[in-house]
Symmetry: D2
Subunit: 143 residues, 4 copies
């Protein structure tokens, strides 16, 4: 998963009451919500803010997502998602995410496979995959 020498994105989050289930631990789709938000934050960190993505008709639909759950998180846990690019393909890319609690405990790790895509006629209209520009790839390259 580490073919691309990627910078690391950091996304802070917290386990809220409503993110937990009757077992008293995090409801697992929450991790996928975090991964999605972490990817958007990672994009923003290199200059592709939600606003810019909207204005340039860009989106990042998913092909695949997976997550391994290592330790249960509880209400009130402050967490961080550390994201990096696992691989850049022609039009697709993999974002690898590590979820950890503030005390360092590793909670979960997963990845998303996404496509670089453009709305043909603006937000809400059909999306078409695009070759990922080299300038975009360069923004994520670790020096």
């Amino acid at each position: 998963m580490d073919e691309f020498p990627s910078i690391v994105g950091r996304f802070s989050c917290e386990v809220y009451w409503g993110d937990c289930d009757p077992a008293g631990i995090i409801f697992y789709p929450t991790y996928f919500r975090w991964m999605d938000a972490a990817t958007w934050a990672f994009m923003a960190s290199v200059g592709y803010s939600p606003k810019r993505m909207r204005e340039e008709y860009l989106s990042m639909p998913l092909i695949n997502a997976e997550c391994k759950f290592v330790a249960p998180a509880q209400h009130g846990d402050r967490c961080e998602v550390r994201s990096r690019i696992g691989r850049f393909g022609g039009a697709s890319f993999i974002v690898a995410h590590e979820m950890a609690r503030a005390d360092g405990t590793r909670l979960a790790h997963g990845s998303e496979t996404r496509v670089w895509a453009r709305y043909v006629d603006g937000p809400g209209t059909p999306i078409k995959s695009q070759p990922i520009p080299d300038e975009v790839k360069a923004l994520f390259r670790a020096k």
Copy 2:
């Protein structure tokens, strides 16, 4: 709330594991998710399906929402939302919702105040309120 002689919409739902919190009961924003889905289903029941709403650039943004919680619902409870139009204004309308368990127990009741609106240039573009057409109002009138 019952000024308008409204037909009644019925929306079936169920309390899922992930809708519940560590107290073992429904997480309250779930009721608002249900009310939203119930309103869309109510519209669909009179001919305004999601597909038609999209094609005609229609939406129903909210001004206000409120809910009273009467009895706690638990994982596995099969429920129904019964919706009716509380009032039609010029461009706004109130949808009143009753949430009950299949055994008849009343769980919650609330209302949404919404605006009849149109996307100026299609989904995702700015929305502008519209006078509610008389034909639309007539669709909800109880005979």
Copy 3:
């Protein structure tokens, strides 16, 4: 709503991609998720952390929740919920919330009516309302 001279809690949040709907703006139950999280954070700010609440078998079930939506929020908006105690009753209390964007734009304002309650036999077991201790009320009193 301002009978009780309350301190103000501050809860930071952000509108994520998944919090928005096909209209490109925040899906309204998100505000209720924020209000819930803001109330828990407000409690934590005066010493009642999620951990302590769990250990002392305390919870805060709801009687009522309402929200007025003033301006639409979009993906990427950084926001803050400012919370204060609107009123303390015997076993119930009202938390009033103001939601604003980082640029100061007021987005929504609402309130929750909650009950101070205890799990009879620990988390997940039935909850019983309790008189709100004067020490708890004092923690929220503005000097």
Copy 4:
């Protein structure tokens, strides 16, 4: 994934307005919410209802979840999740899910790896994995 000759569970669902994102299609964590609900419904279909699971202190925490997204779903799509047991281990098991639209279009397919577990002292208390009883395995065996 098809080592165990499993019966098939069927779970009906629908794409609601609030399940969709600004691209106008389903927000992907929704599929994981569906898979979770489908697994609970699958258990209920063989006699392990949410109520019974609670009363017997049983839960099914996750080790892993993954999903492949094949075609985008839209607001209003009626869907079905078809679930089967992919494999039974000693204390863990895999549930494989197929998500399809009512018109037959395959939307996504994924799987969850779960542990058969018991709360040591009732809901909300720590959970410990348990050998899956042969009687439970037998309930899912296709004749």
